[in-house]
């Protein structure tokens, strides 16, 4: 089926998320929609899927204008969508999820589970998905959940399949499998819209590339365009994708983790007997697919989450940390922390930038005068930090929540690096951040390393890991599967991320 978007405009109040976007996807074509975080890709697809109504413009399928008042209409017209955050009910089985909204029914509206199962098995077999129709979705690995989403779309005879950032949660192997599936579907005639910000994947699988920046189409490209060409189209200026860093000059050991185990919120052992150490002057990257215990490990290092009693120990600067050390104790011992979810754990959105900058030192003499806040000092320090860390804001008295993702993250980084730290733990420091801010944050991490600090970088982005790390520890199912050098190949790291020991 041929899909055409003509002059789609979508506004949210003042913000123009999509500015008269035109796009044509031919039948059987894999069309990549490339753009930075916040460029308006997902908004566009939500318009296509009927979740949002466009303010202007038209959607055409096989040259016929369509009017979608909800996802139901879009689906009925043959559009299927695999959302970035899966739209699956965790407590339902695969068959129930696939059938939902399109249920085979019998007398009195009874739900025919057997028929729903059959449909899943049929599609699963046809494409070799290997999905159990009776498994509860919450028990499935994310890669399989994604396949359930694809089955869901196919079971509704989707002729146009939209995949929104589908590789964010996958291992490199699962990504390869997904690409094979995409090619297979395209060959069978399905048109595929592949939304991503990862250049490598676009080049590998797309037939055609449309680049979007700040809500506008900036141009088309062929998959044989060079990476730097695509990157500069996406960002709007020349981008230096490589991080330059000197040879590491290793110093004393700053962090030693010995055999610790940590429970997650569901009382499952999320970190299981993890040991590693970090020296001054190096960046140790902890790589791995999301949800393999990295979050819990970071929280345990900071003291937010208890280490299972008697399971092991953490030493900072050679000093044994008390097992029930408070977060403040840990921070005082010279640790800086960039949390993975800045909106939830990094900032108070309703506070100003200046207020956010003093959060981790609110009790210290630099910010206080007796029981009061030393406003003059805070003003001076925050002004200084906003400049030094290139936070794009009219003033430090603006609300942190109003900043863009990249600038919010810079505020967090500024706050953590303002104190003298020996060890910086950065958890997903560039997630959802624009390329300019990514470059800046990467420079800061390397600068810390070169200044003789130890850096732990927890990241699920292999590109980031390979660009920055001096050593790479790969986490899988709560364990460190191996610690390898930065020259290790992508394939090798991918295998390790899928649980194959080095």
């Amino acid at each position: 089926m041929k899909l055409e978007l003509r002059g789609i405009t979508k506004r949210f109040g003042q913000l123009v998320a999509n500015d008269s976007i035109n796009l044509v996807v031919q039948p059987g074509e894999i069309h990549a929609l490339l753009g930075e975080n916040g460029a308006g890709k997902s908004t566009l697809m939500n318009v296509l899927y009927g979740l949002y109504q466009a303010d202007e413009g038209q959607i055409l399928l096989d040259d016929k204008a369509q009017k979608f008042s909800g996802p139901g209409d879009a689906m009925a017209s043959g559009i299927g969508m695999v959302h970035q955050h899966f739209m699956l009910i965790p407590v339902f089985t695969v068959a129930e999820n696939v059938a939902l909204g399109n249920e085979p029914t019998g007398l009195f509206g009874t739900f025919k589970l057997a028929e729903a199962r059959k449909r899943v098995v049929e599609i699963s077999d046809r494409f070799g998905f290997n999905v159990d129709p009776d498994a509860l979705v919450e028990d499935l690995p994310v890669g399989v959940q994604q396949r359930v989403e694809i089955i869901k779309a196919l079971s509704r005879d989707a002729k146009v399949l939209v995949l929104d950032e589908p590789t964010a949660v996958l291992t490199p192997q699962e990504t390869d499998e997904l690409m094979a599936i995409m090619r297979q579907l395209a060959k069978a005639g399905t048109s595929i819209v592949f939304i991503t910000h990862k250049l490598r994947e676009v080049k590998e699988v797309a037939d055609k590339i449309t680049v979007i920046r700040l809500g506008k189409v900036v141009g088309d490209a062929a998959p044989d365009a060079s990476t730097s060409e695509l990157a500069s189209m996406m960002v709007g200026r020349e981008v230096d994708l490589t991080v330059t860093k000197r040879q590491a000059s290793l110093g004393d050991e700053v962090l030693r983790v010995e055999n610790i185990s940590v429970l997650d919120d569901r009382n499952q052992r999320a970190v299981n007997g993890v040991s590693f150490m970090v020296q001054r002057g190096e960046i140790l990257a902890i790589a791995g697919v999301q949800g393999n215990g990295q979050t819990e490990l970071a929280e345990a290092l900071l003291g937010l989450r208890p280490v299972i009693k008697g399971s092991g120990s953490i030493s900072i600067n050679g000093e044994h940390r008390k097992s029930q050390a408070s977060v403040r104790d840990v921070l005082e011992s010279g640790v800086g922390f960039i949390p993975e979810d800045r909106k939830k754990d990094g900032l108070v959105s309703e506070f100003t930038i200046a207020e956010n900058l003093m959060l981790n030192a609110s009790y210290k003499s630099v910010f206080t005068k007796g029981l009061n806040i030393n406003f003059a000092a805070r003003k001076k320090i925050s002004k200084d930090l906003v400049e030094r860390f290139d936070v794009r804001t009219p003033s430090a008295d603006h609300l942190a929540g109003k900043l863009s993702g990249g600038n919010q993250q810079k505020v967090v980084v500024a706050r953590e690096l303002y104190r003298k730290v020996d060890l910086l733990i950065a958890s997903q420091p560039t997630r959802g951040v624009d390329v300019g801010s990514i470059e800046f944050i990467h420079e800061q991490l390397v600068a810390e390393r070169d200044a003789g600090k130890g850096v732990v970088l927890i990241s699920t982005e292999l590109d980031e890991v390979l660009a920055l790390a001096d050593r790479i520890a790969v986490m899988y199912r709560g364990q460190i599967i191996g610690i390898v050098g930065p020259e290790t190949s992508r394939e090798q790291l991918g295998k390790m991320m899928a649980g194959v020991a080095a």
């Binding site: 979740l51 909800g70 139901g72 739209m87 059938a99």
Partner: protein, 422 residues
């Protein structure tokens, strides 16, 4: 975010604890000592059938203290089995806990009725009748909460239903009209909750509380100003006729308990399995549960979240209204000030105790019905015993049940979270 679960296969730290054997052991010793060894003298007679029943079963007579000793010992044995199971890290099965509970209740009844009789059919039948308003209130709760809306207003809906059933039945002299009015008005009240929760994204607990206070205020006012003045004309509906279902009502014990009742009880006995069927076996139920768990996901497959929630809450309200009618025309025969007396809140607890499952919730409601009749009956047979103490017993049984097999319950994920589109 639920989809960001760690991959499966990470070792589970969950262990079956020793809570159930400890609680069961202690209570078995209590039964053994207080009802058995230090029990009361005298014979207890268990009357399994009533005089008017077609099939007569022989009465079962035993010395009260002896019964206490026997049940106490068996309960202790069950506790030991539970201990062995816990040592092997497996859970005590639900049927064993049920047997244990039943033994405990038997011991209690036998102890209370020393030198007296235990009318089994009367107690079970009345427990059911008293449980009906709670049960129907709980069904309203299940319907609304499964679709994602907290319904604190069940209390108000019961009260509304009770009032309307009594008044409309009295004025029109027609029970059908009265019951219809009860269901209709309570459904209207639910609509208010639904509209505030869905359309205006209001805090559902606050709306619920306000509705409750409002209904208490209105019914109190009308009761004082109108029903007490003109009671004979507007608050004298009497009760529905008792219907005997041929043949089925002749089954010993179960027959008179289940099949010789007023229409309100029969309705409850039908609604509970029907709701289970709709919720778990039909398209509508699948969709409602999806809406309560993950409304955005439901929306993306073309399910109208607002409409689904609206109708599940509204129809739930109608069922609660029927529960209210069961209080007046189904039991008391007239409306009394604030006569729902917290049943609506008990219904909320029953929903959670029954883990949002209609059948389990109905059983939990029965437990509360039993506790009410137990207090009344115990007062008659053993006036010396403080009734507050007796009333505690079913709740202790509940605690055992919760500790023993309910475990951690998991509410619908999007309960009480308004769904905003776009």
């Amino acid at each position: 975010m639920s989809w960001l679960k760690p991959v499966s296969g990470i070792n589970s730290e969950e262990r079956v604890g020793f809570k159930s054997p400890i609680v069961m052991g202690v209570l078995a010793l209590v039964v053994l000592y207080f009802f058995g060894i230090a029990g009361r003298s005298g014979q207890t007679v268990f009357e399994l059938t009533r005089k008017q029943d077609l099939i007569q079963l022989p009465v079962f007579e035993i010395a009260s203290a002896q019964l206490g000793v026997i049940t106490g010992v068996i309960m202790l044995l069950v506790a030991v089995v539970s201990l062995l199971l816990s040592l092997r890290n497996s859970k005590t099965p639900i049927w064993l806990v049920s047997i244990y509970g039943l033994l405990g209740v038997t011991a209690l009844l036998g102890w209370l009725a020393a030198d007296n009789t235990v009318p089994v059919v009367f107690i079970a039948g009345t427990a059911l009748v008293l449980a009906v308003p709670i049960m129907l209130g709980a069904m309203a709760g299940v319907m609304s909460e499964r679709s994602g809306i907290t319904n604190i207003a069940i209390e108000g809906q019961l009260l509304t239903g009770a009032f309307m059933a009594a008044v409309v039945s009295s004025i029109t002299d027609n029970f059908a009209l009265g019951i219809f009015a009860a269901m209709f008005t309570a459904a209207l009240m639910s609509m208010v909750l639904a509209v505030f929760a869905i359309k205006f994204l209001a805090q559902q607990i606050i709306v619920g509380v306000v509705l409750n206070v409002l209904v208490i205020g209105i019914t109190n006012f009308l009761y004082q100003q109108w029903l007490t003045e003109d009671g004979e004309n507007v608050n004298f509906p009497g009760t529905l006729d008792i219907i005997k279902i041929p043949f089925l009502s002749d089954i010993p014990i179960l027959g008179p308990v289940l099949f010789e009742n007023r229409i309100t009880v029969f309705a409850a006995l039908l609604i509970v399995p029907l709701l289970w069927f709709v919720l778990f076996k039909t398209k509508l139920g699948l969709r409602a549960r999806a809406v309560g768990e993950h409304p955005l996901a439901a929306d993306t497959v073309g399910i109208n979240v607002s409409r689904t929630r609206f109708w599940w809450v509204t129809i739930g309200g109608a069922i609660a209204g029927l529960g209210g009618a069961a209080l007046t025309v189904g039991n008391a025969g007239a409306f009394g000030r604030e006569m729902s007396g917290g049943f609506g809140f008990i219904a909320l607890a029953v929903v959670i105790l029954g883990r949002w499952h209609p059948i389990s919730a109905a059983l939990a409601a029965l437990l509360f019905g039993f506790s009410i009749i137990l207090r009344v009956w115990a007062n008659q047979v053993s006036p010396g015993i403080p009734t507050d103490f007796i009333t505690m017993v079913p709740y202790i049984v509940t605690i055992i049940a919760v500790v023993g097999f309910v475990g951690q319950s998991r509410p619908p994920k999007s309960l009480a979270i308004p769904y905003m589109k776009g």
